[in-house]
């Protein structure tokens, strides 16, 4: 299996940085899947829930939508695109392990994995 493309959402971009950041992610995901590689997007779980800067929240949720759109469109082609939401305490080994699982061509697609307890008892995203 090829090395997956990992796109980690930048933070502190402000509203002015939203367009460029989402377009950049679109390019990276499209290049990955059309090149036969898996793609994993990484965001902060707190941003998915809107616990912080509005632009960071918009970007994290926009990337979740983008992953779902790629997954919807790539079902027949076998595109592997998933998203990982981590909290601030997630270490590198945890992240690497989840990226590996989410890149498995026999695994899931369009899935959101939320590492850490932040989402418990809160609104589904």
């Amino acid at each position: 299996m090829n090395t997956p493309v990992v796109y980690e959402a930048p933070r502190g971009i402000g509203v002015a940085g939203l367009e460029a950041s989402i377009l950049d992610a679109f390019h990276q995901l499209r290049d990955a899947v059309t090149g036969g590689r898996a793609a994993v997007v990484i965001v902060r779980d707190s941003d998915l829930l809107g616990h912080g800067d509005p632009a960071d929240a918009a970007l994290a949720n926009g990337l979740l939508g983008l992953v779902r759109a790629f997954a919807t469109e790539g079902v027949r082609e076998g595109w592997v695109v998933n998203i990982l939401a981590v909290d601030e305490g997630a270490d590198d080994a945890t992240r690497r392990g989840w990226v590996e699982r989410l890149s498995d061509p026999q695994g899931v697609v369009g899935a959101l994995i939320r590492v850490g307890p932040l989402h418990l008892g809160r609104v589904p995203v």
């Binding site: 939203l18 616990h51 949720n61 979740l64 939508g65 759109a69």
Partner: protein, 236 residues
């Protein structure tokens, strides 16, 4: 001071319905759209004021803030309804089409909310018109990302501005507008077949839900997404 509702995308079918409905609840309406020819008669028919502006421009929030100041109006409600589609499969989507949808459907409402939210009085309300498509749709990667981003923005602003201003989103499914009427009949029929309600929404039905979120009836509701899709989002 006069309490006003600002409705973007007011020249379109859904925007008109929302404006007409909110006109029953608010003292004044400021209608906004890039299409002045379409907007002017709508505003006239409702006795509303209007501003024709491209919401994708950096100046739009200042133009609308100035328009409120000139009239001595305070923004009691903002409905971010304006949006565009540039559908294409991912492999064929141009950067221009992708970026335009992000700019108009996500960045513009973010800028407008950030400009007007701090000026709202206590119990002010913002309603962002997202879409059921935010959960994923074929051929709309740009639109899906923009509307999902709008939901994230909604949550963050709701937390930041509570308890003074409530911020919610509505996620409509298929709505009976000239845009959907322009779809090939067999495509539209296939889409409607997947809706448990077995029909599209009428714009007035979505407008009622927007009016609820904007009104004191929803005074304990903030940071939420009201999915108004006839059950499509839970259908097999």
């Amino acid at each position: 001071m006069t309490s006003a509702a600002i409705i973007t995308g007011a020249a379109g079918a859904l925007g008109q319905s929302i404006a007409s409905r909110l006109g029953q609840d608010l003292e004044a309406l400021l209608l906004v759209d890039v299409d002045e020819q379409g907007l002017a008669p709508v505003a006239e028919s409702m006795g509303a004021d209007y501003v024709a502006v491209d919401l994708g421009s950096d100046q739009a929030p200042d133009i609308l803030s100035d328009a409120l100041d000139e009239r001595g109006w305070i923004p009691r409600a903002l409905v971010n309804n304006a949006g565009v589609n540039r559908d294409a499969r991912i492999s064929r989507m141009s950067d221009e089409d992708f970026a335009t949808v992000i700019r108009v459907d996500l960045v513009a409402p973010a800028r407008l909310a950030l400009a007007l939210g701090p000026r709202m009085p206590d119990a002010g309300s913002i309603v962002n018109v997202a879409s059921r498509a935010a959960f994923g749709n074929f051929g709309q990667a740009n639109y899906v990302a923009a509307k999902a981003g709008l939901i994230g923005l909604t949550r963050s602003l709701a937390i930041q501005w509570a308890p003074r201003v409530r911020v919610n989103a509505i996620a409509p499914g298929l709505v009976d507008t000239p845009m959907t009427a322009g779809m090939p009949e067999e495509v539209l029929s296939r889409l409607v077949d997947r809706v448990p309600a077995d029909r599209m929404a009428q714009p007035d039905e979505i407008a009622e839900a927007v009016a609820f979120l904007a009104s004191p009836a929803a005074s304990y509701v903030t940071g939420q997404v009201l999915v108004a899709c006839g059950g499509r989002s839970i259908a097999p």
